[in-house]
Symmetry: C2
Subunit: 402 residues, 2 copies
C-alpha cells in the first residue's frame, strides 16, 4: 500500500472475517448441513478422550452416520500440538481424499487441524511452513470446528501454533486460507472444563487483548472501549465459571469474548508486534507448560519491566477503565495499582501460580537461548516497548521469584 | 430451532458477516481488483452530485477505465430512496447484463442498490418485496460499496429501506443475499459532510445502538460494554467532526462505529423488535424529513414514555455507563438524568432541532394512521416496552412540544 497523508494518525487496514458462527446450545443439529457444503469425506481431528467423556464424540458420530457422512479420525492431538500430528493428518487427508476437516476440541486441536488443512494441499513437508523456507500457504482444505475450551480464539481466527520437539521450536503463523469456514460455539460443551483450565483460558484471553491494548500505535477509542469491556467480562465471569462450572451465562460470556479477543477486529490498523506471546512460546516449547499459565506469570512482569514515563498513560487507562481504580495525581501510583489488580485477579481470584518454579521451571539455564529466539521470531524490537535479548532474560528472571 | 434448556437465559444465534472492508485512506486502489472478482460489467449507483464535487465520481471512472471495466450509471437516487429508482436500476441490470453493482454514496444509495441487486434477479415487480406478497429474496447480484456518509450502517449489513410515495410506505427488510461483498470505508470521503448531516448521522447511529441496548432479552454483558463504548465514541467524536470537518481520527472513529452499530454483532441472541425506527419510518414516509433527525426527536420521548419501575435498571446503566452520571439511591432520578444528558447531546451539543414543528411537521392529522402502521409493520407489541397504536400516538404528540 502507498504511504498516505493520514497514516501518521491511523494505519489503513482490511477487515475480513468470513467465519460463520453457530452460537448456543443445540446448534450442532446444523453440523452435517454445513459439512455437506464442502463434501462427504470428513476427517475428524480431536485430542484426548475428553470429548468422549462429555458425549460429544458419540453425538458427532451419530449425526454423521444419520446423514451419510464418511468420517475418518485423527485422535490424540496433544496440548502444544506437534508437527508429527500435522504430518499424520495431512497423510490421511491425501490418502482418503478428504473434503473437509472437522476439529473437535480446544485451541490445540483446532490449530493442528488448520495446519493439516494446509499441509494436505502441498507436496512438501509440513514443517516447511515454519522453518526458514516459510513455505507459502496458498490454499487449505475447508475447516469446520466444534469448540470445547474457551481460550485461544483459534475457532475464529486464521492463525495456528505448532511445536516441534526435535528443534525445540513453537511457532505461530497466520494465513487467511486457515480461517475456519464454520464454528460451533456451544457454551454447554465447556461445562466440564475444570477450574485450572478455565483459569488458564482466561489468562490467555486477557493476554490476547492486552497484547493489542498496550500499543500506542494509532489507537481507536471505540476499539479500546471494546477491549476494556472484554477484559471486564473476563474479570467478572471467570470466577463465576470456576465456582459454578455449569453456569450457562458465564460460559457464554467467556466463550464469545474468547473469539473476539483475537479474531482481528480489535487490531484496527495497529501494526505493533506482540510481546508476551513470543516469550511464552519459548517457555512452553521447552517446558511444555500450559500456554495460559505461562502468559499469566509473564504478563505482570512484562508490564512492570516496560512501564516508563512515556507509555504510562496506557497503564493509567488500563487501571481506571478495566479495574475501576480511582486515578490520583500520581500517575505512577495509579499505573502500579493496575498491575497489582491484575496480579490479584490472576494469582488470588482465579488461583494461578505466581512464579516459574511453582509451574515446574526450576532453572534459568535456557533463558538466554529462549530470549534470543523470542526476540528474533517475535520481532520484539517492534513491540509496545521494544525488547532485546537482555530485556527478555531480565523478564524471565523476574518470573523466578515472587 | 428446537426450544432448549438454556434458552430462558440466552437465545442461540448465528453470526455471519462475510463482508470484506477496506478501511482507510487510499484504499480505492483496490476497487477494480475487487470488482473484477465478479465481472467487468458494472452498474454504478449514486445520488445527487456530491460525489462529483469531491472528485470521487471522476476517480471511480478513471480507475474503471484504466482497468477495462464497463461502467453503466444510475444517478439521482434520493434520500429515502424510492421504489422507482429500484425499478429503473433493475431494468438497466437486466438490459445491460450487469455483473456487479457499485453503490457510491450514503445509506440511501446503498439501500437502493441492494434492492436493485435483488430485483435484477426476479421477474416480478420490485415492490412485491415489500407489499403483502413479501416475495422471497433468494439471490441478488453482488454489491460493492464506497461509503460517503457515516450514518445508516447499510455498508456492512443486509438490510435496506425503500419508500413508496404512492402508498406512503417506507419499509425496511433484511435478507442475507443483500449483504455487500466489499465495502470501502475511507474517512476522507466524509470530510465534506456538513454539520447538520454529520449530526443526523450520529443520531441515527445512537438509535441503532439504543434499539438493541434497551432490551432486557438476555443481554450479553460483553456486548453491552461494546455498545456503551460505541455510544461514548459517538458522543466524544461527533462534536469534533462537526467543528473540524477534516479531522481524520474523528471521522474514522465515527465511520467504523457506524458500521458496527448495526451489522448484527451487538444483537447476540436478542429477539426483541426495535421501537423508534418503525415510528420514524412512518414520519419520514409522509414528511420526507431526514431519518436521523426524526430519530433524534423521537428517542428521548420514547425513553420517557416507556420508563417504569420494571425496566428502570437499563436506564440507570445507560446513564452511568454512557454519560458517566453518578448513580444515587433514587434510581428514577438517575434514569431521568440519563435522558436529559441524551437530550443535551442531541439538541444542544450537536444542535439538532428538538420538536416536530421545528422539523416541518406542523399538524397531527396523520398520527393515528402512522401509529397503526408503525405498530403493525414494526411489530411494536414485541418491543422493549410493548407499544400499541395509542401509545405511539402519545409519543408522536410528545414530539410536538418542547
Amino acid at each position: 500500500m502507498t504511504m498516505t497523508k493520514y497514516q501518521i494518525i491511523m494505519n489503513s487496514f482490511i477487515y475480513n472475517i468470513p467465519c460463520k458462527v453457530y452460537f448456543g446450545e443445540n446448534q450442532l443439529e446444523n453440523l452435517t448441513t454445513e459439512l455437506k457444503q464442502y463434501g462427504r469425506r470428513v476427517l475428524m481431528v480431536y485430542g484426548s478422550g475428553s470429548i468422549k467423556k462429555i458425549g460429544l464424540y458419540d453425538k458427532v458420530l451419530s449425526l454423521c452416520q444419520t446423514d451419510n457422512i464418511e468420517l475418518f479420525e485423527l485422535a490424540n492431538v496433544q496440548p502444544n500440538p506437534r508437527i508429527s500430528s500435522v504430518r499424520e493428518g495431512a497423510r490421511i487427508c491425501k490418502e482418503k481424499q478428504i473434503d473437509v476437516v472437522l476439529a473437535v476440541g480446544g485451541g490445540s486441536t483446532i490449530d493442528c487441524a488448520k495446519w493439516i488443512c494446509a499441509a494436505a494441499c502441498v507436496e512438501h513437508d509440513a514443517w516447511d511452513f515454519f522453518n526458514e523456507k516459510w513455505a507459502p500457504v496458498e490454499r487449505a482444505l475447508p475447516l469446520i470446528d466444534i469448540l470445547t475450551l474457551t481460550a485461544t480464539g483459534s475457532e475464529m481466527d486464521a492463525g495456528g501454533v505448532i511445536s516441534n520437539p526435535e528443534t525445540k521450536d513453537k511457532i505461530g503463523r497466520i494465513a487467511s486460507p486457515l480461517l475456519p469456514k464454520v464454528s460451533f460455539l456451544d457454551p454447554t460443551l465447556t461445562f466440564s472444563v475444570n477450574a485450572y483450565q478455565t483459569a488458564c483460558g482466561a489468562a490467555d484471553m486477557m493476554s490476547h487483548i492486552m497484547e493489542v491494548y498496550f500499543n500506542n500505535d494509532d489507537d481507536f477509542y471505540m476499539l479500546d472501549c471494546f477491549m476494556e469491556g472484554m477484559m471486564k467480562t473476563i474479570i467478572k465471569y471467570t470466577p463465576i465459571a470456576i465456582n459454578e462450572p455449569d453456569n450457562y451465562k458465564a460460559r457464554a460470556e467467556l466463550m464469545w469474548t474468547g473469539s473476539w479477543a483475537i479474531n482481528g477486529f480489535i487490531n484496527g490498523g495497529k501494526m505493533k508486534r506482540w510481546s508476551c506471546h513470543p516469550m511464552e512460546h519459548e517457555i512452553s516449547a521447552i517446558y511444555d507448560i500450559t500456554h495460559g499459565l505461562g502468559l499469566a506469570i509473564l504478563t505482570p512482569r512484562w508490564m512492570k519491566y516496560c512501564l516508563n514515563e512515556k507509555n504510562i498513560d496506557k497503564y493509567v487507562q488500563f487501571a481506571t477503565n478495566v479495574f475501576d481504580i480511582k486515578p490520583t495525581a500520581d500517575k505512577m501510583q495509579t499505573a502500579k495499582a493496575g498491575i497489582a489488580a491484575l496480579e490479584k485477579f490472576l494469582f488470588d481470584t482465579i488461583k494461578l501460580v505466581r512464579t516459574f518454579p511453582e509451574a515446574g521451571i526450576k532453572d534459568n539455564s535456557n533463558f538466554e537461548i529462549m530470549a534470543q529466539k523470542a526476540v528474533t521470531l517475535g520481532g520484539l524490537q517492534n513491540a509496545f516497548q521494544p525488547l532485546n535479548t537482555n530485556d527478555v532474560v531480565k523478564i524471565f528472571e523476574m518470573c523466578m521469584v515472587n
